[in-house]
Amino acid sequence: MNHNQRDWEVHPPYLYPDYKSTVFRAPSKPLIPMKHTLSESTGPVYGQDSVGQFDNDLTKNGIRNGEPLGERIVVSGRILDIDGRPIKNTLVEIWQANAAGRYIHKVDQHNAPLDPNFFGGGRCVTDENGRYTFMTIKPGAYPWGNHPNAWRPNHIHFSLFGSNITNRLVTQMYFPGDPLLQYDPIYQGVPEKARHLLVSQFDLSLTQPDFALGYNFDIVLRGHNATPFENQ
C-alpha cells in the first residue's frame, strides 16, 4: 500500500448491515483506483482567521443566561500524518450532544432537555506541534432507531482537513470504558484491530484542578508529501 492511500484495513467498509442505513446507501460497485494528480495533492487551507474567540470553548460559545450543565472536560490531542509528523495550522471542527444526550438539531426528537446555554459546535486550529484543545461538556449517550433499545455511546464528532483533500477525515471520539461500545454498530463497523484508535484516554496532565477532567485523543491522517503521479 502506498502510504498516501486509504488503509482499508482500518476504515469501516461501506456496507455494514448491522448499521441499517448502510444497506441502501453503500456504493455497491468496486471503487476505481485513482492516481493522485494536483487535484488530490492540494486542499483548502483554513488558518487562525477562520476561528473566532470562543470557538474552541463550548462551555462559553453558546451561553445565553448562565453556564451549561454537565461535567466540564478538556479534550486535546495531536493531529499527525502517517509518518508521525505533526500537522500544524490545520482546522479541527467538532460537534456533539449536550450532557443529557440531546442535539440542538431540529431533526433530533430525543426526549431529553435542551440546554439553553450549550450550542455543541466548535472549531480550532492546531498549533506548531499539531496540538488542538477544546473545553467542553461531556456528551450524554442517546437512543437511536437502528434496532430495539439502541444507544449511541458518548461521543464527539470530529472533522479534519489535513494537508490536502485526500487527508479529509470525519470521525468520532469515544470515551474509555464505555459499556455501550460493544453494542454500537457504528463503532463495531471499524475493523477490530483499529477500534481502540477511536477511544480517547483519560489524561491527568490535561485536567484542570478544581475545574475539569482531561481526555487525550490523537488523530493520524494520511501522508502529506504526495507527488503528482507518483503511483504511476
Binding site: R6, V10, H11, P13, Y14, Y19, K20, S21, V23, F24, R25, A26, P27, S28, K29, I32, P33, M34, K35, H36, T37, L38, S39, T42, G43, P44, V45, S50, G52, L80, I82, G84, L91, E93, I94, W95, Y103, H105, K106, V107, F119, G120, G121, H157, S159, I165, L169, V170, T171, Q172, I186, V190, A194, L197, L198, D218, I219, V220, L221, R222
Partner: protein, 187 residues
C-alpha cells in the same frame, strides 16, 4: 503510525459543519457559494440530488467540492476565490445540493473537473468522486482519470449543461447504488 478510522458524519452534522446554511446562530467556514461578483471566470450553478438504492433523494447528505479557479490554479493567492464549498441536502425542498461557483480551467492537462467528497448518515467512510462538464467532449476524451473508468460508466461523472433564465446550470445527480451508480474512486 496507523490511520485513524473514519466514522459516519451522522444525521446531526448541520450545526457543526454548515450552521449558517441551516440558520443556526454560528458562523460557517464554507458554504454553497464560492464566488463573488468579482470572481473571474464563467459563473455556473451546480445542482443535483443524492439518490439511495431505492431511488429516494437523501436529505441528510453533505457534499463538499474542491476545484481550481478560472486560471487552473488551486488556492490562488491573488483572489477571493477559495475553491472549497460545502452544502447539506437538508435545506432544499427537493433535497438538492446547490453550488454557486465558476467553471474551473484545465489543470495539469486534465479536462476541467471538480473533486467531490460525499458524506451522509449511513456512510461510514466518505466517498470521493469527480464532476466533469458535458460541453468539454474533446477534453473529456483525453482525460487520464476519466479514461480509467469503464466506457459505459463515464456518463455518471458528467454534469449536463443547461442554459436557464437564472444562468448556466450543470445538473448532476450522485447515485449511491444500482445500474446508474456513480463512479467512486479509491483516492
Amino acid at each position: 503510525m496507523t490511520q485513524t478510522p473514519s466514522q459516519t458524519v451522522g444525521p446531526y452534522f448541520a450545526y457543526g459543519l454548515s450552521p449558517q446554511q441551516y440558520l443556526y446562530n454560528h458562523t460557517s467556514i464554507a458554504s454553497g457559494n464560492l464566488r463573488t461578483s468579482s470572481t473571474q471566470g464563467e459563473p455556473i450553478t451546480i445542482k443535483g440530488r443524492v439518490l439511495d438504492g431505492q431511488g429516494n433523494a437523501i436529505p441528510d447528505a453533505m457534499i463538499e467540492i474542491w476545484q481550481a479557479d478560472a486560471k487552473g490554479q488551486y488556492n490562488p493567492t491573488d483572489s477571493d476565490f477559495k475553491g472549497f464549498g460545502r452544502f447539506g441536502t437538508g435545506t432544499d425542498p427537493e433535497a438538492q445540493f446547490i453550488f454557486q461557483t465558476i467553471k474551473p480551467a484545465s489543470v495539469d492537462g486534465q479536462a476541467p473537473h471538480i473533486t467531490v467528497v460525499v458524506f451522509m448518515r449511513g456512510l461510514l467512510t466518505h466517498a470521493y468522486t469527480r464532476l466533469y462538464f458535458s460541453d468539454e467532449t474533446t477534453e473529456n476524451q483525453k482525460d487520464i482519470i476519466l479514461n480509467t473508468v469503464p466506457e459505459e460508466r463515464k456518463n455518471t461523472l458528467i454534469a449536463q449543461r443547461q442554459e436557464t433564465p437564472e444562468g448556466i446550470v450543470y445538473q448532476w445527480d450522485i447515485v449511491m447504488q444500482g445500474e446508474q451508480e456513480t463512479v467512486f474512486f479509491d483516492v
